[in-house]
Subunit: 773 residues, 2 copies
């Protein structure tokens, strides 16, 4: 949720941090969007200009390719076989820790939410019961709405004022991170704290949200923190895991963290691994995958174990995830061959409803980006939604006449008699007056006949709009559970209708089964995940039998939904203008070659370069390059310079900071010996160039880059086709790819934005514009 | 099994097919193994020289990198967006077909085995019962042994004489194929037919084998056949799917086929996908994975559906795989926290036993390679094993006094009263007198107390040695089920012993649960698969609860086993000297650079080259290069030639065959226009150079390679470290990587063998020798 906040905040904050764009000259600078600003003139809140056909230059890439400079190679060569074994063992230890801590956080969230929500519902229920007798139910309504708003307000305040990146589920941000885009502050400790507090508030506040999505983000933050062996926020450095202080290793651990989060959220360790791979892995590595799986397993086990203690049943490992679909027995709810077309039809409905959800949310997000970008406005909107949710729920329960007899099988914690006769319970209330997780479970497992079709229809309708409105608020919360809930409701409705159409006696259309299929269809229609979602659903039901129908349903809903609009996460990523790389180059891009794609001319540095030149190049804010090819001129020849390496802005910054200069004038080498440790200590928050003072004398010194540059950067000739460049770039997780001519001279540089620019639109291949939004 | 056969046959046949080694000059030619051949002088069977420290040059690589020459690019550029959509849809159709056919084959094997084994056991049982009364049981024994031997003989004859590559489970071969090594004849129709017939014979013949492993190979063959839209063996070309006639596409489909095979064998679609990824994927692609999953799902569904018809219960989809572990109910067999150390201990036992199994089988295989390489000897050995298996089984059953009362829950198809009193059944016979699949299920699910500890101990011991002897015979059969059976037996034994050590009344140590853990431990100890095996086991039990213990057990058994010896499949791959690329370069290889690794000097061709030169280069049997850098000389300059492309032997062969010559003498261009279709028609069985006649006149002609060469081959500078080269090579599935100097001149060529040569031995980094074995 609350990707507008991210929009506003991401762009405003990156300016401060001095983070700079990729090494791409702003070719299209003159074509920057000229959106009308007249709205702000009329006294309306200042509108943030926005254009979808842009690609922001604000986002840096991660360097998944190791910087193999002399320092690195020397270290690797010094290391013995035992040293590598120890590293491998510490990787496993880190993954175990990630899993353990993620599970612990999930457990804490679950317990706090259960306790607080329990108290809230008890208070409201007691109040309603009191006033049902004496009249004056409006007081109960107000009580409920105020309680909700207070919780939501607390959640929204921390998010909007302290850490806007913690808004929403965090899944789009983690997708971007795993794709190789550095999203500022996304894996910081502060973000985690705000996220956890925020998600508790928004779930307890009764919003139409879930606590599962945020677990994925939380896991990722845990991973980024643990693997670095230090916390910059807390200013503590434990001096461990220093080897892992680079993008390559960190990104691997973040994959494990995200998987552990999925695993804890849904009790789906395999699904977690597949999620990480689906979103992140450009390069599949067996050992890495196995470690990710380990983290996932530890995470679900930790959660399970502590929840079993909380439920006074230690050792009973039956709560593998935050959401528990309950047990689907194979006997009772097996499916028949002739039901498969029905499932596929439901998948199509899910795709349609999902597309509708996404389109509505898209418009809403555009509106929010334009008009609701001030933190206080965001908090007020969140409170409004909370109050409206409570009011709608109350009204629905009040006017519902779906009273069901309270059977012996009915073991709800709060028997919801609300407005019903004694010995009966209000069926609408099982859906509204409950945490969403419990409502989903009830829809899956309550006896046939527990719900009136009208109840389900009304519930679907209202909850659909509430959830759509809620996603994008400045609160920490996920969209998985609301989607499941909407789908389960209309799925169950389908089951009931099918059963009533055909022979009356038979219960072939078990409503619980159809609720499950509906839930899958709706979720698939909204988020459009494929393999991992199938596995997550299968693992959450704990029953492999449903594999094929769930897969068919998810496929159908994806195909139908993709016809209209992209998935919800992709929409929000696009609205942020993130340079996201898909799996393959657009199909019809073979006519493009590196020559057209690359940025040129490129700012190159000499192998031994004047400090003043380096400072000037780095300070040039109009280009903000991040990577510089290093060239060498053959002495005494007028031949053009040849490529001999590649150096990053961050490395140059460290070199300047440590004054690694050669004073040629005195003809002696005073170049300080830098070590890898100096670079690792500075990682990942390299200071901006403005903060480094270089005196006029120092500007005249030279700097020898030989030892620090990556001497063997990947190169391609100019004639290489775009798909080929794309594949190399994506498979190796590159950040800069040097384009050379047949004499090995630098002619251009390909970066992430140069590739992400091209995409398949409705009129064939389209090219996005680059801008410093 | 029967990897010796492969050894002999792979090397002998590749000579005929003219398949040549990689473009690696035989640097170490002079160091070819000088193994003593004196054995043959003494009249013993001719010994095949064998040395593990060799890497065979016989194996070609697959070209996972697209050959982006002008023809290809022109075709891609001509293709519209709709064209690409149609291609995508046909990929899905092919995957669906692969799944369907694989499921159908699995179903056929299952039904035939069930029927034949049923008849066999009925005959033997009837015979034993007859002779138990009148005496003369030796006749029964002989009948049983002869029946078994006849079946096994048939299976062994087809394998040994017609298609030796069909021996064994085929998993090592498929691993190699997915790794990028072309194994001759591994995906041919004939192989499939022999495989299916062979596996039926060996399972019915009562060998200690399973029919699951061969399904993976069968699925791969189906995939390779269907995706090409033609059968060379049947000489039918359906003129469809011509676009898929290249290594890149074919390998993707073979991944899907292998996954479909796993899925049909174990009812584990997700496990199948993970198997393919674990073994094959160098580059993870979301759409590809999704298609693989689709094939897997269709495969298990097809099997399930047809088996339900066979079992007269259409629509009851409860047989997702060939092996059915039966239902593990969560209630009855949940585990407790304090059992986890026990599971880990069992994992260690599994690792030890697995290592023992592998070591014994390794010695046996060496023995077989040396002395049992003639087909008739192989058939005789297989028959001997069959007879011994029957004899041992008979003896065990005869001397067993483990008679159990026949309870009402006992629903075996053949109530095995053998040698027991009326109303009782012979417990040893449930293990021996049954197909292995049924025996596994009985061990998992029979009531506590069904087996006597002595019975289980004896069974484990005998079956261990029988299975070890059997793996490697010239029959089609897998090692999964025997491993599971051994493990289940000693696992159940552990469970019984644990229960008897502790309090008598409690059944906390449910023997079925321990049987499952033992089975996982033993299988893990032998094959050492990790993630995919965990998921396969979880899916086969249909219960997610066991995820963590199974994973811990598999991890332990892998770690313990790896301490002693590699996994069984890896041993057999190594014994074949296959240039197998692991996931990463050896850890301590940073001191090596492309300069040391590459082969040089390289045979280069000019862009416009004399036909005679090309023919001579291709005919040079001492080098047998497969890829040639194409260079261009600047006209009128004496500068060294620069790299401008790369061309393959197979392409040159097609060009020569079609006489694509330029007759310079007559100063007119007669170069025929070749199309991609000509290359696709020739794929994958390109004729040897010897079969192409080039006249003396034609030798004087020139050939223009510009249009056909890959104009943008990947290159690396000489200083690139081995890990970096390795990563590039592995991630992109390359076959040739050109090493250039800083002037873009060719200095060397890195191929698969140059990288596979380096491995971590006991004394650090070791280098294997290359040889034309």
């Amino acid at each position: 949720m609350a990707n507008i906040t991210k929009k506003v905040s991401w762009s405003s904050r990156t300016d401060e941090s001095g983070a700079a764009g990729e090494g791409t000259p702003l070719l299209n600078g003159s074509e920057q969007p000229k959106l009308s600003r007249q709205d702000s003139l009329r006294g309306r809140p200042k509108e943030i200009p926005h254009n979808e056909k842009l690609l922001s230059l604000k986002y840096e890439s991660l360097d998944y390719d190791n910087i193999e400079n002399q320092l690195f190679l020397e270290e690797e060569r010094r290391m013995s076989y035992m040293g590598f074994r120890c590293l491998e063992i510490s990787r496993w230890v880190v993954c175990g820790l990630i899993g353990f801590l993620t599970g612990l956080i999930a457990c804490m969230i679950d317990i706090v939410v259960e306790e607080l929500a329990g108290i809230k519902y008890q208070v409201v229920k007691w109040n309603i019961e009191k006033f049902t007798e004496v009249g004056g139910l409006s007081i109960s309504l107000i009580l409920w709405a105020v309680l909700n708003s207070v919780f939501v307000m607390m959640g929204a305040i921390v998010v909007a004022f302290f850490e806007p990146i913690a808004a929403g589920s965090g899944i789009p941000q983690i997708k971007c991170y795993l794709n190789g885009v550095k999203i500022p502050r996304v894996v910081r400790l502060k973000t985690l704290v705000v996220k956890v507090f925020g998600v508790i508030c928004s779930v307890v506040g009764g919003l139409a949200v879930g606590k599962e999505g945020p677990m994925i983000h939380s896991g990722a933050v845990v991973a980024a923190g643990v693997s670095q062996g230090r916390s910059t926020s807390l200013k503590r450095d434990f001096k461990i895991f220093e080897y892992f202080r680079r993008d390559t290793e960190k990104r691997d651990f973040v994959s494990a963290g995200a998987a552990a989060g999925v695993s804890a959220a849904f009790g789906a360790p395999v699904g977690g691994v597949l999620f990480s791979l689906e979103e992140g892995a450009s390069f599949w590595n067996q050992m890495l995958t196995w470690r990710i799986f380990f983290a996932s397993m530890i995470s679900t086990f930790t959660l399970n174990f502590f929840l079993s203690i909380y439920h006074n049943n230690p050792g009973d490992l039956s709560n593998p995830g935050l959401i528990n679909f309950g047990r689907f027995e194979t006997d009772s709810v097996t499916y028949n061959l002739y039901e498969i077309p029905l499932f596929i039809a439901m998948g199509a409905i899910g795709g349609l409803l999902g597309a509708l959800f996404n389109v509505l949310n898209y418009w809403l997000t555009i509106f929010r980006i334009r008009y609701v970008h001030r933190p206080c406005l965001q908090v007020m909107e969140a409170m409004l939604v909370a109050a409206v949710t409570a009011t709608v729920s109350f009204t629905m329960i009040y006017f519902s006449n779906d009273c069901q007899p309270l059977g012996p099988e009915h073991t709800e914690e709060y028997p919801l008699q609300l407005f019903c006769a004694d010995g009966e319970y209000n069926s609408m209330a099982t859906a509204f007056f409950n945490t969403p997780e419990r409502s989903v479970r009830s829809l899956f497992h309550n006896q046939p006949g527990s719900y009136n079709p009208l109840t389900l229809g009304l519930f679907t309708l209202t909850y659909f709009f509430l959830a759509c409105w809620t996603y994008g608020l400045a609160v920490s919360a996920g969209v998985f559970i609301p989607s499941l809930l909407i789908g389960a409701a209309w799925g169950r409705l389908c089951g009931i209708l099918l059963a009533s159409i055909t022979s009356t006696g038979s219960i072939w259309a078990d409503p619980g089964k159809y609720a499950l299929i509906g839930a899958a269809a709706q979720l698939g229609g909204i988020v459009r995940m494929t393999l991992s979602l199938t596995v997550i659903m299968v693992e959450a039901t704990g029953n492999v039998t449903y594999g094929l129908p769930i897969m068919l349903v998810l496929m159908t809903s994806k195909i139908v939904g993709d016809y209209f609009v992209e998935g919800l996460y992709d929409i929000h990523i696009k609205l942020q203008s993130v340079p996201f790389l898909h799996w393959e180059a657009p199909a019809t891009s073979h006519w493009l070659t590196a020559r057209e794609v690359m940025s040129s001319p490129v700012t190159c540095l000499n192998r031994i370069e004047k400090v003043g030149t380096i400072v000037d190049v780095l300070s040039n804010t109009s280009t903000n390059h991040n990577g510089f090819p290093v060239v060498v001129q053959v002495a005494g020849s007028d031949e053009p310079a040849k490529l001999c390496g590649l150096i990053l802005r961050s490395q140059l910054i460290v070199l300047l900071k440590h004054k690694v200069f050669v004073e040629l004038a005195r003809s002696r080498l005073t170049q300080r010996k830098l070590q890898l440790k100096d670079f690792r200590d500075a990682y990942p928050r390299f200071p901006p160039i403005q903060s480094i003072h270089v005196s006029q004398d120092e500007r005249e010194c030279m700097m020898d880059l030989t030892e620090f540059m990556n001497a063997t950067p990947y190169t391609v000739p100019m004639e290489t086709s775009l798909p080929r460049v794309f594949k190399l770039f994506r498979a190796l997780g590159l950040r800069h790819l040097v384009v050379v001519d047949d004499e090995n001279r630098v002619v251009g540089l390909v970066t992430r934005k140069d590739l992400a620019r091209y995409h398949l639109g409705k009129h064939g291949l389209e090219e996005l514009q680059l801008a410093q939004t």
